[in-house]
Symmetry: C2
């Protein structure tokens, strides 16, 4: 179903809710994919959303809740009483249950954990111990594992035993007597092998795996590098403790990209697209503006310092915006390429020197073109080749300086262990402005011998 | 293996190549994952890369080539003769083979297609007919499909028959006598069912699928929405024609995020992080700078128009950078949130009105804070409450106007079918500058009655 179809369903559902057509609504819901129901719920206003969700039985409700965006899910959970939440959580895989429980207020979470199946609640408590953005925080405890001495037939028995608990399964993990992960067996090979074959004779020995404490960004990188659909997680002793599936990784990649994009523009990375409180959004974005504000006070000081020169040749001031804007635009291009290259790993440590050098050359070349263009403009407009030459030189210098800041600041942040995406806005933008203005006015006053 | 280990291997490999230790190199390569070999190749300088790649047999070379980034792969392919390329392509799945062939110069591609297995070359020719960024361009022809009347035992026979050709398999697709996709059967269920059971009695009837012409961004969206590991592709008659696997989708998501980030900063989306030609990079980025240049000439004109006012109260010019920068920063925050929200689908059509309204309120609130701050600054610094009030009003107006541009331009582009990411740099940045400057100088001259 594409977005247009879903939008049409939102309208239908709204109509049916307004006319209390409960039977028709239930009919409609039965045929829909949980992900589509989640989409519709997110689009509905609060009261209707609550009502529609109440029509789902616990199993459906759990499937839908897993698919909901964080913001809408939190709003929905706020409205549910602990007994209903418990019913729903009881139907979930351990990783999803943990996500939900971790979002609840402490006393509600405790009540839910008391009410659900004892084994499940122990699993959730176990998973809650891991940091949310690590492999341990992402993994589920539902997977199929067999001892290396088991036969193919026994492995199939094990799949049967866990069929209910484990939703989709693509591999059987193989462990030794102490629970160490020693191999992996694709279901395809299991199907094609004789029942009596020993698992250890047909398994793959080279298993790509991660430690529970691995950061989620690195987990995503591993999935991507090795083209995986599932990744086993081991503890510090190498014992199998969980499994991460690719659907979680896709969400992480999207989250990380949004974080980077937000940071690049000076928007708090955790800002929710569905947030409705203007106050909360303003408060999140204001610090970045405050930083720009403080920085640009520097520009005001620079201008007041050079006011004598400016008043002598007012034309100098005409070109302040173009010089600042081009320094800013070029510096922003460079910083963005460096930040993204570092984030995707396409700029690796061994290459940083070469990349800096490449970007500085690009800044010089483009600075040269912009300088030539401004020289022509000043000549045609003000008929002053001397002023034109001076402004052109300033243009090249400012674009080069912006390039320097645009490469070095992200790399420095990266080296210090910070996300380089923090570098661009407002830090690079503002320092480019102040530095560009200073370079421009210094050069112009020196070269024109004014002020 | 993490990046540090790989970096160490790059150093080892370099050393071994320099000392012509071919046997040791071969030993090292045997134990490495193809993805890791690809990583090392991308890091090596051209000559060493060529040499190391020549040590791989055709099968390994094909696995490695699939994992390489586009840029390095193209460089490598340039150096290989058609017979070696043919050997390598012969080992690939149809989708990967098609990717490689489509990158080759026409006559080389033709020669390769002549040399490889006839069936394979027909598949590649078939796949080449689809647009690269559609479902047809992404899909592979290697999948397992059985007739709905087949039994579980027959399905397993079919998997066995295709075991060699199809690498990983997670589902068996089910088709009717005319090849229409009518169901899907997870391998897990196949394992747990009796050999004599009919496939149609245990298959899932609701199959998520896409049409061959579906855009790749929509394909990624479908994978994400329904948490898939593989997605069947059908033609306009609903007949099964191919399969897309999740590893391709992860690459698309990363590509699309990079594209968005590049567009947001005015960098050509196709710019290769590993590109080394300064000239090619400059040429790609220059048009965006040229646009900013032309736009900012408008700023110069505005300033020259108001030069009489500025020369009367020079302090007015001190605040030009801060007004422009804050308008720009706030407008950029808003535009970025809108662009990203549209890209991830978190801002859906039904909500656009609400989102515009929300962003404008945020702009007003933040404009108010910045206005208050600049009022205080002007008072403290220049002891001129009248000037301070006027500049504060201008600040609010400029931030609000930037917010208006920052929301409306991306939405307008989206409506017209363009990527809204094109909106921000340099278009929004430049128009914010010119508009902000004009609003500021107009308000200041009117309210202070100068000029």
């Amino acid at each position: 179903m594409d977005e247009e179809d879903l939008q049409a369903i939102v309208d239908d559902v709204s109509f049916l809710i307004e006319h209390h057509e409960e039977a028709k609504l239930r009919n409609l819901l039965v045929d829909m994919h949980p992900a589509d129901i989640a989409w519709v719920l997110a689009e509905l206003p609060e009261e209707k959303r609550k009502y529609l969700f109440s029509l789902l039985d616990a199993e459906r409700a759990s499937d839908v809740l897993v698919e909901l965006d964080d913001y809408t899910r939190e709003k929905l959970l706020d409205e549910l009483d602990p007994s209903r939440i418990s019913e729903i959580v009881d139907e979930m895989d351990s990783d999803d249950a943990t996500d939900v429980v971790s979002e609840l207020p402490e006393e509600v979470a405790e009540e839910v954990l008391e009410r659900i199946d004892k084994e499940d609640s122990e699993e959730v408590r176990e998973l809650l111990r891991h940091e949310e953005d690590t492999a341990g925080g992402l993994m589920a405890l539902e997977y199929v594992a067999v001892n290396e001495n088991a036969t193919v037939g026994e492995a199939i028995q094990e799949i049967r035993r866990k069929a209910e608990e484990v939703g989709e399964a693509f591999h059987v993990y193989v462990v030794d007597d102490d629970g160490h992960l020693v191999g992996v067996l694709p279901l395809k090979r299991l199907i094609l092998s004789d029942e009596k074959t020993r698992v250890k004779d047909i398994m793959d020995h080279d298993v790509v795996k991660v430690d529970v404490e691995t950061d989620q960004e690195e987990v995503a990188r591993v999935f991507q590098r090795y083209n995986l659909v599932a990744l086993p997680v081991v503890d510090w002793k190498g014992r199998l403790v969980g499994q991460i599936t690719v659907d979680d990784v896709i969400d992480i990649l999207e989250e990380e990209a949004t974080e980077d994009i937000h940071r690049l523009a000076g928007v708090p990375e955790e800002e929710e697209p569905r947030e409705t409180s203007v106050f909360r959004i303003s408060r999140g974005r204001l610090p970045w503006l405050a930083f720009a504000f403080m920085g640009e006070l520097g520009s005001a000081l620079v201008l007041s310092h050079f006011q004598a020169s400016i008043s002598q040749i007012l034309a100098v001031s005409f070109f302040i915006p173009i010089i600042m804007a081009l320094g800013g635009a070029s510096g922003n291009q460079i910083a963005t390429v460096v930040v993204r290259g570092l984030a995707t790993g396409e700029i690796s440590r061994g290459e940083i020197g070469r990349k800096v050098w490449r970007e500085l050359k690009v800044a010089l070349v483009n600075g040269f073109f912009c300088g030539a263009a401004i020289f022509v403009v000043v000549n045609v407009w003000l008929k002053d080749p001397h002023l034109g030459a001076v402004i052109a030189i300033a243009m090249v210098a400012v674009i080069f300086a912006s390039g320097l800041i645009g490469t070095l600041v992200p790399i420095l942040l990266h080296r210090l262990g910070y996300d380089p995406a923090y570098a661009t806005a407002p830090f690079i933008a503002t320092s480019n402005d102040v530095l560009g203005l200073t370079i421009y006015l210094l050069l112009v006053t020196k070269l024109l011998k004014i002020g």
